[in-house]
């Protein structure tokens, strides 16, 4: 595996655990942190991998060698600081990949529109998990592909679902949708084929798009 040079802005909890994991994977990691106290603590524990400074400032980022960085990850609790770090990295230093933590879930899509390669919203992630815990929820979002309209969803075949007793071949699915996996109690998960007949309580994982998920849900679950 190629070792990457990864710069992390913000030495808080996320920055700390992230750098620990990335260092263990053999990457070169530098944390940029404003507070001297936090810097010292990080260096005590992780070795010399921390630089004191403002991760939005061009001078600091130059000193951090951002020119040769493969990835910049902004992890502070201020969305505006994360945005600026990523944008300066991208436009001034041509860093190929910028990843930003977003605290306000609305900023998820805003940041992508403003050119950040990947965004992570803790709030949205928790919301998705809550969705998964609601038994009545017929369609659960498992994963959204970064930058694309594609997503992976899970559906549970309920008592009244029109799909019961029908085979996959008989179901009318949108053309951009694929049923990838069938999970049935006391059976090994398997890839369904055209002859597979659906039963109550079957769980299926499907690759679909934001536009097609409603049609998928209607045709399978009613």
């Amino acid at each position: 595996m190629k070792a990457l040079y990864i710069v992390i802005v913000g030495g808080g909890k996320i920055g700390y655990y992230l750098s620990k994991a990335l260092l263990n994977q053999g990457h070169e990691v530098l944390i940029i942190e404003k507070e001297a106290r936090i810097c010292e603590r990080l260096e005590d524990e992780l070795g010399s991998c921390c630089m004191r400074g403002d991760g939005c400032e061009t001078a600091v980022l130059t000193e951090a060698g951002l020119n040769r960085a493969d990835v910049l990850i902004a992890t502070t609790s201020h969305d505006e600081d994360n945005l600026v770090s990523c944008q300066v990295a991208k436009h001034r230093f041509k860093v190929p990949r910028t990843i930003s933590l977003v605290n306000n879930p609305n900023n998820d899509s805003i940041f992508r529109k403003l050119g950040i390669d990947a965004t992570i919203s803790v709030t949205n992630t928790i919301l998705e998990h809550v969705e998964q815990e609601i038994p009545a929820h017929p369609l659960i979002h498992l994963l959204t592909m970064s930058g694309k309209m594609e997503e992976i969803v899970e559906l549970t075949v309920n008592k009244e679902a029109p799909a019961i007793g029908k085979s996959l071949g008989q179901l009318r699915l949108p053309p951009d949708t694929t049923i990838a996996l069938l999970m049935r109690e006391n059976e090994k998960p398997r890839i369904p084929d055209a002859e597979t007949v659906f039963m109550e309580n079957d769980r299926v994982v499907a690759l679909t798009t934001l536009d097609s998920e409603k049609i998928l849900e209607r045709n399978l679950l009613g």
Binding site: C56, E57, D79, L83, V84, V88, H91, N106, I110
Partner: protein, 144 residues
């Protein structure tokens, strides 16, 4: 006041984010000149800077929040000024105004000259008070 007579009928609308000394002063000037002004600030105490004659709207809220900007009427506004103390807050709000809400004129204050250069290259109309004031002082000295 110069420009007092302009645009009394058309009532151009303007949002100012940050009611500090500059934001407050600008809001008062634009209000007196006949613009419809909405001022946003996180702290209600900042609105003390607005004159008693101010006829615009003062809203408590965060200008980097999409929902708050919508509440302030950003979807139909003619111009947006980002004038808080924080460069990054200004940069973020200005970009949301320009790229998400397509506000026709967006002006952003960025104290840090280097950061100003980067965002100017990215097409954001920005002013660095640091640069402007240093230039001003330098030119005064030259005349001594």
């Amino acid at each position: 006041m110069p420009g007092t007579q302009i645009l009394k009928q058309t009532k151009k609308t303007i949002i100012i984010m940050g009611c500090g000394r500059v934001g407050g002063k600008l809001a008062a000037m634009l209000d007196a000149a006949g613009y419809r002004v909405t001022v946003l600030d996180l702290d209600a105490y900042s609105f003390r800077r607005l004159p008693p004659t101010f006829s615009g709207t003062a809203l408590i809220g965060n200008g980097t929040d999409e929902d708050m900007l919508r509440k302030a009427g950003i979807e139909s506004v003619d111009a947006f000024f980002a004038l808080t103390q924080g460069d990054n807050r200004n940069v973020m709000a200005a970009q949301i105004a320009k790229h998400i809400f397509k506000v026709p004129r967006v002006i952003c204050r960025i104290y840090d000259p280097l950061r100003k250069d980067i965002y100017e290259q990215l097409g954001l109309e920005s002013i660095s008070p640091t640069e402007v004031f240093a230039d001003l002082l330098f030119n005064r000295l030259e005349k001594i």
